[in-house]
């Protein structure tokens, strides 16, 4: 049983409400931080903890916080990114739905560390009922003196505002989120300047994921150094993984990043194996944007080592033979799934969600979508596979924001690892409409590469 820091109390009756949450030891970190620590020490603790952003990029949070500009007389802001729209990711939803006070607590401590008197939660529009949960939690925190003016008599003021998005995936990108929060069209800004210098209303701003901010609570409670002892290497602490797809027990799991991918999929404590006795074909380990891996590369790295559920091990081998931790949206595909159809579904999603600001993404995503539609429906040519590769290559890295990369990577990885399935679709157009390529050799052990 691995260590739980965030979801430990998730199943306590009535934990949604302030009284129960407080009785279970809630808001201790706020007391500790505001009364005994200075904002700089809080940042120092977070740095020591080695906490990495849980939204997808995995950037060290302490370092991000230390970048924030502190000009005289200009208010600073903390924004909580709850616009969780990545297909396959639903960990923040679970956290906010069951433990709203944990997020509020983390937000108060983080606001104190960053000097933000007005903190915003930008929540995905589709999470309409969670807005009510959060607002109720904020109200309860306010009546009990954890929010508002002069918190705990320390002279620190903090208010938390919840803002609903309007259903755009792109608003999860931090600068697009800021634009949307300002009431504008959610187009990503051109960086630099970074939000840490000029963010919300041209003020220094930090945008963090829900899980990152919730993780601040155990860090302050147990101390940064203690927190860093959990996990391995640079993957410290615990991570929420939202597992879905063809597994027996889909759901949100908290892992301490020391277990192997194989254990995560097959052990009864986590996913409980592949559903209906099927075999594993492929998996996307970190949300739809990260490269897909076939079974043989998922369980073992190209060097033949066991792959673990942490930042370093999942990205071992780069994009050629590895993937990314991403946001922790763990999507498992069994032998009955069609990779071409799956890639087409993702391409259609990115086509629909591209903001249309920069040309490679706007025009490239529709091209990917149309080409994959053709291939999936048995009208493709072999040259279309090469064309797909070339189009994704020209989108990647040439766009304003990471959405272009996110649209290109799944396509690139699918062609890289499953090219024979694409070719089968082209060469057997009729057959491909009624049956699947199946598992083929994707689970066969691969020859370890030794230098």
């Amino acid at each position: 049983m691995s260590k739980k820091l965030l979801l430990e109390k998730a199943h306590v009756e009535g934990i949604k409400h302030y009284d129960v949450y407080r009785r279970e030891g809630g808001y201790k970190s706020v007391e500790k931080a505001l009364k005994t620590l200075s904002p700089d020490t809080v940042v120092e603790e977070v740095k020591k903890s080695g906490l990495r952003g849980r939204g997808g990029a995995g950037f060290p949070t302490g370092m991000k916080w230390s970048f924030i500009a502190k000009p005289e007389g200009v208010p600073r802001h903390l924004v909580c990114n709850a616009d969780e729209s990545e297909p396959g990711t639903f960990k923040d939803r679970y956290l906010m739905e069951f433990l709203p006070h944990l997020l509020i607590e983390g937000l108060i401590v983080s606001s104190f560390a960053l000097g933000s008197n007005d903190t915003y939660i930008y929540i995905r529009g589709e999470y309409a009922w969670i807005v009510d949960i959060l607002e109720q939690a904020i109200e309860e925190a306010k009546t009990n003196g954890w929010l508002g003016k002069n918190i705990l008599g320390t002279g620190f003021n903090c208010n938390i505002h919840v803002q609903r998005g309007a259903g755009a995936y792109i608003c999860g990108e931090e600068t697009a989120l800021i634009e949307s929060l300002e009431g504008k069209r959610g187009n990503p800004r051109i960086k630099p300047p970074f939000p840490a210098i000029k963010g919300l209303w041209e003020r220094p701003t930090v945008v963090n994921n829900v899980e990152t901010l919730a993780a601040i609570v155990p860090i302050i409670n147990m101390g940064g150094e203690e927190y860093a002892k959990i996990g391995v290497g640079r993957s410290t602490g615990t991570k929420l993984i939202s597992a879905c797809g063809n597994i027996n027990k889909p759901g949100v799991y908290e892992i301490d990043m020391t277990i192997s991918v194989e254990e995560f999929i097959y052990s009864d404590e986590y996913c409980g194996g592949i559903a209906n006795g099927k075999r594993l074909k492929a998996c996307i380990p970190g949300g739809s944007s990260v490269p897909i891996l076939p079974a043989n590369l998922l369980l073992k790295t190209a060097k033949g080592e066991t792959r673990y559920m942490n930042y370093e091990s999942l990205s071992d081998g780069g994009f050629a033979t590895g993937s990314m931790m991403g946001s922790g949206g763990f999507i498992v595909l069994d032998e009955d799934q069609c990779i071409v159809k799956h890639t087409y579904t993702l391409a259609r999603f990115y086509h629909h969600e591209s903001c249309g600001q920069c040309s490679p993404c706007r025009e490239g995503t529709i091209w990917l979508d149309k080409l994959l539609y053709k291939l999936e429906h048995g009208q493709g040519k072999l040259s279309d596979i090469d064309l797909l590769w070339d189009v994704q290559r020209k989108i990647e890295g040439n766009t304003i924001c990471p959405l272009g990369d996110a649209a290109a990577w799944p396509v690139a990885a699918a062609i890289r690892h499953f090219r024979d399935e694409f070719e089968w679709h082209v060469n057997n157009p009729k057959e491909s409409q009624i049956k699947n390529f199946g598992l083929a050799h994707y689970a066969n052990p691969i020859q370890p590469i030794t230098a």
């Binding site: 903001c355 040309s359 025009e363 995503t365 890295g397």
Partner: protein
């Protein structure tokens, strides 16, 4: 440039130039000029916030600065990246840039109708120039292109979204020139469109300038649509006393007829500064209503780049390439073999009118 501001050295395609701090790579490259300047479809120096969207001006930064010589990991948009001291930039000398730019041109063209033969912008279209210079000969896109209905923005401007490349220049122009938000973008992705909310008329005096900032034929002047091809008209600089704007314009004439009035543009296709130092935006009255030669004081023919198709009208005195041989050799240039002398066609003692029928070589042998 303020006194005493230190100049930063930046090397673009192995040519070093000194620019004040805060200059973008694109503007530093424009200072050098020629092929070194990256193409720009969305950047417009007179519009705040423009740029960064079209990605045609991507360049490779092979050395970040003197202090931090690491190269930048990705190609950067030169119109929005400021120079650092000692920066080294590769534009046309980088194969990565050429490849990425070819990709961007292909992307821009996949949904562009390529209806140049019936487009009023043809001949002065930035996208046309861009695809000639940086594009490939053919597109690999085989699907149906997206289309939109034409929309009238008021009675003088027509918006044809099918041709639009979503550079947002007109959105910035409408926002910054008219001080009110009348004009924006609806929807997202490839079905995004420039729109005034529920096709509201644009009434402002300076809204006509959106036609000038449009790099393609998406926004056209309805008083000029289908009247003439731009290369048949001859541009002249002219001015009048206007109470609203600077009154300094370019007239596009054929004979004595004024077909079109636009703002004056500089070599980068942007509106020139007026003589009083302000930006040379012109008002709708000058643009749409003053279409008689008698309304204007004509100054001179406009100088047009000789690579432009517009210069084929030869309205300006033809600049003959200067002959340097007489100065060097002290004699007239001599052709190696003058066929006319050999064949004696040039013999003056034969009157062609006296020859019956077509002339033959035998006629000259007499």
């Amino acid at each position: 440039m303020a006194e005493g501001t230190p100049l930063l050295k930046v090397t673009i395609d192995n040519i070093t130039v000194e620019v004040p701090a805060g200059t973008t790579i694109l503007n530093a490259a424009r200072k050098i000029g020629g092929d070194v300047a990256p193409p720009a479809m969305c950047y417009y120096s007179k519009l705040e916030g423009s740029g960064g969207k079209c990605r045609t001006c991507l360049v490779e930064v092979s050395k970040g600065s003197e202090k931090d010589p690491r190269p930048m990991p990705k190609l950067v948009a030169s119109c929005r990246t400021t120079v650092m001291d000692g920066m080294e930039v590769k534009n046309i000398t980088s194969s990565k840039v050429i490849d990425a730019r070819q990709g961007v041109v292909e992307f821009l063209l996949i949904n562009h109708p390529l209806d140049c033969p019936i487009c009023d912008q043809a001949g002065e279209c930035d996208l046309q120039d861009l695809s000639y210079e940086h594009g490939k000969e053919a597109s690999r896109y085989e699907f149906e292109k997206r289309t939109f209905h034409k929309i009238n923005l008021g009675d003088k401007i027509q918006l044809h979204m099918t041709r639009c490349i979503l550079c947002y220049r007109c959105v910035f122009a409408a926002e910054q020139l008219t001080q009110q938000r009348e004009h924006g973008v609806l929807d997202r992705g490839e079905h995004a469109e420039i729109a005034t909310y529920i096709e509201k008329n644009l009434q402002h005096d300076f809204i006509g300038n959106v036609i000038d900032v449009c790099p393609v034929g998406a926004l056209t002047d309805k008083t000029f649509r289908f009247k003439n091809r731009v290369w048949f008209t001859k541009p002249v600089d002219a001015h009048r006393n206007c109470t609203k704007c600077c009154g300094e314009v370019r007239l596009w004439m054929r004979g004595d007829e004024v077909f079109r009035v636009t703002a004056r543009r500089d070599e980068w296709g942007e509106v020139k500064e007026a003589s009083n130092g302000k930006t040379g935006w012109i008002c709708n009255e000058c643009r749409f209503d003053k279409k008689h030669v008698s309304d204007w004081v004509i100054e001179k023919p406009t100088h047009i780049n000789r690579h432009s198709v517009i210069s084929q009208g030869h309205y300006e005195k033809l600049q003959k390439p200067q002959e340097f041989l007489p100065d060097l050799m002290h004699r007239e240039p001599r052709l190696i073999m003058d066929i006319h002398n050999v064949s004696e066609v040039n013999r003056t003692n034969i009157d062609l009118s006296e020859i019956k029928g077509p002339a033959h070589s035998t006629d000259f042998n007499k």
